[in-house]
């Protein structure tokens, strides 16, 4: 190998070493745990015919989740999770929903740290007939 060939080879090996070190370091950094705040929209569905919402649920839930940064990045860039309030089995009256985070579909590697509100109530009332 000529001197210039040897120099360019050394330069390439150095550059590849830096790239490999960066990728190794970056993959470790992305595995570090962090927190992310998510705003989860609340959708009401399955209201039985003849019933109407007296007091609706909150429009959104504020959730703080923790997990590896790469999974948090995926959660932030991907489709936002939705909390579906299923009222198909509820009759007229007040229904309370506690620990709503259990019904939000999140990546299994993520842990819900806090949810606001932690519980809420929905009132269904009979539609007035003419």
């Amino acid at each position: 190998m000529s001197r210039s060939g040897k120099e360019s080879h050394t330069l390439l090996v150095r550059a590849l070493s830096v790239v490999l070190a960066f990728l190794l370091w970056f993959s470790l950094v992305l595995e570090r745990h962090d927190e992310l705040s998510l705003t989860v929209p609340v959708q009401v569905e399955g209201i039985a015919p003849g019933l109407t919402l007296g007091s609706p649920p909150p429009k959104t839930l504020e959730m703080k989740v923790s997990g590896p940064r790469i999974v948090l990045l995926r959660a932030r860039l991907g489709e936002a999770p939705v909390y579906r309030v299923d009222l198909s089995r509820s009759g007229a009256g007040v229904t309370t929903f506690a620990a709503p985070e259990r019904l939000v579909k999140l990546d299994p590697e993520l842990t819900v740290e806090t949810v606001f509100p932690g519980s809420f109530s929905v009132t269904l009332q009979t539609q007035a007939t003419k």
Binding site: H9, V13, L16, V19, L20, W25, L73
Partner: protein, 252 residues
């Protein structure tokens, strides 16, 4: 100081990255030639693949890539066991051998010059230092051999076809012989000085090389560096001077 402490995380990451790059580079040097580039390239692709499959949650592909990454250390150790063994041997002997190489080259050179001077055979030997001498050399024969007193002596023997001209030592190897050097243009140089000495002075005025001259007329040895000549050197003095002027890094 407070800012420094606040930026500790960033500094830690930078240090981590720099150390990792250094270790990867040093390890890659254990493998010779283009193989190091290929291995580094493949490892980069595997890490990139790991990141992408992790981000896009491609479980099967990730399992495969992670298995390859995890086993790569063992696989590389098995494939390159000979290179690794050689590298560890070199690592432990490196410093010792470096000094040994320098000592060998200078000893061989001093021995050859002393013996040639004693027999009144002229010799002109150039030891390249930090500035390359190639651009100032005319003609010459490529040799690329280990510096030995026998080789130097045989080159300068009168019946040798390349005895006229200089021998060039570059990075600890005898690379050329029969090279013509530029003569000094200094008008203050003694007119009785022979062509060998004029050539030695001429080259040393242009580059930082060390030139050793054995005179066939007087049987003395001179050392020329930076346009200055030191005459009548006995072998121990020549060796001492050469060890002072030629650093090991110029002989490797």
């Amino acid at each position: 100081m407070t800012e420094l402490l606040q930026n500790r995380g960033l500094l830690q990451d930078l240090l981590d990255l720099a150390l990792t790059a250094f270790v990867v580079y040093r390890l890659s040097r254990l493998v010779k030639g283009v193989m190091a580039q290929r291995i580094l390239g493949v490892l980069c692709l595997l890490f990139l693949g790991h990141l992408l499959t992790r981000f896009f949650a491609l479980s099967a592909a990730r399992l495969l890539i992670d298995a390859l990454l995890a086993s790569s250390v063992v696989v590389l150790a098995v494939i390159f066991q000979t290179d690794i063994r050689r590298a560890f041997t070199v690592l432990t002997r490196h410093q010792h051998e470096k000094n040994e190489t320098m000592s060998d080259v200078i000893d061989e050179l001093v021995f050859a010059v002393a013996s040639l001077a004693q027999k009144r055979i002229g010799a002109l030997i150039v030891i390249e230092r930090s500035i390359p001498v190639d651009t100032y050399l005319a003609v010459g024969t490529d040799i690329d051999a280990k510096v030995t007193s026998e080789l130097i002596s045989s080159i300068f023997l009168p019946y040798s076809p390349i005895h006229d001209g200089a021998v060039i030592i570059q990075r600890g190897k005898l690379t050329k012989a029969g090279c013509f050097l530029p003569l000094t243009q200094n008008p203050e140089v003694n007119k009785n000085l022979g062509t060998r000495h004029r050539a030695a002075l001429g080259l040393s005025e242009l580059v930082d090389a060390v030139v050793v001259v054995a005179s066939e007329e007087s049987g003395t040895v001179s050392l020329v560096v930076g346009g200055k000549k030191t005459d009548n050197l006995d072998p121990p003095a020549l060796g001492k001077l050469l060890r002072r002027l030629v650093e090991p890094r110029w002989l490797k």
